[in-house]
């Protein structure tokens, strides 16, 4: 028996040693053997050029405003070597707009800019565009019914994406996604939208801001996750969202928010001291967040709007939040410093009027078309000089996303490889 045990031990030792050695070799090997980043994934191999396309704001517009504009962009070899390739453009456009490759007939029909543009129009009118948009909005909102639990009072997690898709497909203004007061919980079955209003108890709906699925998906302490969702989804940047032109040295860093420092709850008696500066300057983000979050505090974990605050405070005993946990009594709710709002519908209007929101959707759609990562998660930012003309066209033509998509998919930068 002893001999058998010894043999088992030996085999175990040998196997473990070999396994660990191989594992280490495997991990290290695959990481190191292949060298450092060479830019392959950023499209360097494709090359490209867009010598001042007016359609893309490529014409030099003077001061870059610190947004990354490159005065030498027009002489970059990766830009200069691009050539128009409608065949290549059609393939990637088809995959993005209808989720499929172009047919042979489509390929043969495209011979120039006009026929290519006509094909893009055809895709935008294709029923498959609706399905592809729905998927896009699910991924943008990071929620959708597929794979999600049902029952026990849980809402549909798909209505927000369906509503956003309906707004886009029906050529409604993009801002309806934030401000519409009726039929904000539609369903989409068999290729047909069926209008419906949300039944989660809100007095007045405000686009997806009052959607039960989103409110449930982003339920968290003090409603901060809901605020973060709004910031990253509709403004395309992380907190902090506001910056003072005159930062103040404070604690272990600098206070950079334009809000009065004492405009949020703090001090030793507060459940959460948002004025703490000992480690990080909490107020840099929370001056903005605390003026928004209480508006979303009445939604419970199932996205139902209740008459009292439902979110919890992460302090001893996890009590339900009170308004004083976010703000001093004299403070009002606000989208940004100086932009007070009374309720969620007013907040929706304030967000919709924020120029950063139009810039955000243009940036996100641009990244999508150009096969880039997400502007927030992958820091795939786009200098405004690239999108200025698109934003201008978008905002001056009723904020129609289909028109925006057409402009992007027919842009010089898109059709050049």
């Amino acid at each position: 028996m002893k001999g058998e045990e010894q043999m088992r031990h030996l085999r175990w030792l040998a196997a473990t040693g070999l396994t660990v050695a191989l594992t280490a070799c495997g991990n290290g090997g695959s990481g190191t053997l292949l060298g450092g980043g060479n830019g392959d994934t950023t499209g360097s191999a494709n090359g490209g050029s867009d010598p001042g396309s007016p359609a893309q704001g490529g014409t030099p517009q003077g001061d870059d405003g610190g947004n990354g504009a490159d005065p030498n962009a027009n002489s970059n070899p990766n830009i200069d070597q691009r050539k128009v390739n409608y065949g290549e453009a059609l393939r990637t456009a088809a995959l993005k707009l209808v989720g499929d490759l172009p047919t042979l007939a489509d390929m043969k029909a495209v011979t120039d800019a006009t026929s290519y543009g006509a094909q893009i129009d055809k895709y935008l009118a294709d029923p498959r565009f609706v399905t592809r948009q729905l998927q896009w909005w699910r991924d943008t909102f990071k929620t959708g019914q597929p794979g999600m639990k049902t029952g026990n009072g849980l809402p549909s997690f798909d209505t927000a994406a369906v509503f956003a898709t309906e707004v886009v497909v029906n050529d409604r203004p993009y801002t309806d996604i934030l401000t519409a007061s009726t039929n904000t919980c539609p369903t989409f079955t068999g290729g047909v939208f069926t209008d419906a209003s949300c039944t989660n108890g809100v007095a007045t709906a405000s686009g997806v801001l009052t959607d039960p699925g989103l409110m449930s998906q982003y339920y968290a302490n003090m409603a901060f996750r809901r605020v973060r969702f709004i910031q990253e989804t509709f403004v395309c940047s992380k907190m902090p969202a506001e910056f003072s032109p005159t930062p103040q040295v404070m604690g272990s860093g600098a206070y950079t928010s334009p809000w009065p420092f004492a405009s949020i709850t703090g001090g030793t008696t507060a459940k959460i001291n948002f004025q703490d500066t000992s480690a990080v300057i909490c107020a840099n983000c929370h001056t903005t967040m605390n003026h928004i979050a209480p508006l979303f505090g009445n939604f419970d974990m199932n996205g139902q709007y209740q008459t009292t605050l439902q979110v919890l405070v992460p302090s001893t005993g996890n009590p339900k939040a009170t308004r004083a946990d976010w703000l001093p009594a004299a403070e009002n709710y606000a989208w940004r410093n100086g932009q007070q709002v009374a309720d969620i519908p007013a907040l929706g209007k304030a967000i919709a009027a924020d120029p950063a929101v139009a810039q955000c959707i243009v940036t996100r759609e641009w990244n999508y078309a150009m096969s880039r990562g997400d502007v927030v998660n992958d820091t795939a930012t786009v200098p405004s000089i690239v999108t200025d003309s698109l934003v201008k066209d978008f905002t001056s033509n009723g904020m129609k996303v289909k028109r925006l998509l057409r402009n992007i998919f027919t842009a010089d930068d898109f059709v050049k490889f």
Partner: protein, 232 residues
């Protein structure tokens, strides 16, 4: 005694496994003709949707981009996003591949079982479908394409290939060579004379190295699919 010897061997195994020396040797001034050279190997970048839960390391992103150009240049160039899971299914169906197949190693089975590796969304975890392809996603995609090539070639040879986006199009002609329209359908973009030449050359090379013409066609189809559909 044996235990001591094996324990020493085991420790040595650990040490050897952890050492970076063998890998370091392969990095840097490699013979450009070596399969391990930077020019020839897939760059295994950080998988953005793994350890960081969908967040790319900004430092890595900036380091990669700096090699291409300014932020404006980067923004104006096409990058490489993953073909979505549903689009991948559509491409396979378009090429007559049976996505419902349950046969071992079939493209359909690999596709169905590979959803996670292909980066599908996990909405419960607030994770959208992967945008930038991970190494796992590309590997799975290539496995599927290889399996699909066998199915496509067999159907083309039997005259039963049904490329739904290209009705009536023959992929392979009566001489066993590829057709221009057939390649266009495989790639989703107009094929060039170079594409045709490379594809048919693959058949010739295969047969010159003791492979069958069928195998040469399969290799060509797999290569074309992988090259064409690595990025969306």
């Amino acid at each position: 005694m044996k235990i001591k010897a094996l324990t020493i061997l085991t420790v040595l195994g650990f040490a050897a496994g952890c050492s970076s020396a063998p890998n370091d040797v392969l990095v840097g001034d490699m013979d450009p003709n070596s399969l391990a050279s930077d020019q020839n190997t897939q760059h295994h970048m950080q998988d953005p949707n793994t350890g960081e839960n969908g967040i790319s390391d900004p430092n890595s992103v900036h380091a990669e981009q700096a090699q291409v150009g300014s932020a404006e240049v980067i923004a104006r160039l096409h990058s490489c996003s993953k073909i979505t899971y549903s689009s991948m299914g559509n491409i396979l169906k378009n090429h007559g591949v049976n996505t419902g197949s349950t046969a071992q190693n079939s493209a359909g089975l690999l596709y169905k079982g590979g959803a996670s590796a292909l980066g599908v969304a996990n909405y419960g975890g607030r994770v959208p479908e992967m945008i930038i392809p991970s190494t796992a996603a590309l590997s799975k995609e290539f496995d599927i394409m290889v399996a699909a090539s066998i199915e496509i070639q067999a159907a083309a040879k039997a005259g039963t290939l049904n490329m739904t986006a290209c009705p009536g199009t023959q992929l392979i002609d009566t001489t066993g060579n590829f057709t221009m329209d057939g390649l266009s359908c495989l790639m989703g973009k107009p094929a060039t004379a170079d594409h045709l030449s490379i594809a048919n050359d693959a058949i010739a090379q295969a047969t010159s190295q003791s492979l069958t013409k069928d195998q040469g066609q399969q290799i060509a189809i797999a290569s074309i699919l992988e090259a064409a559909h690595t990025c969306e």
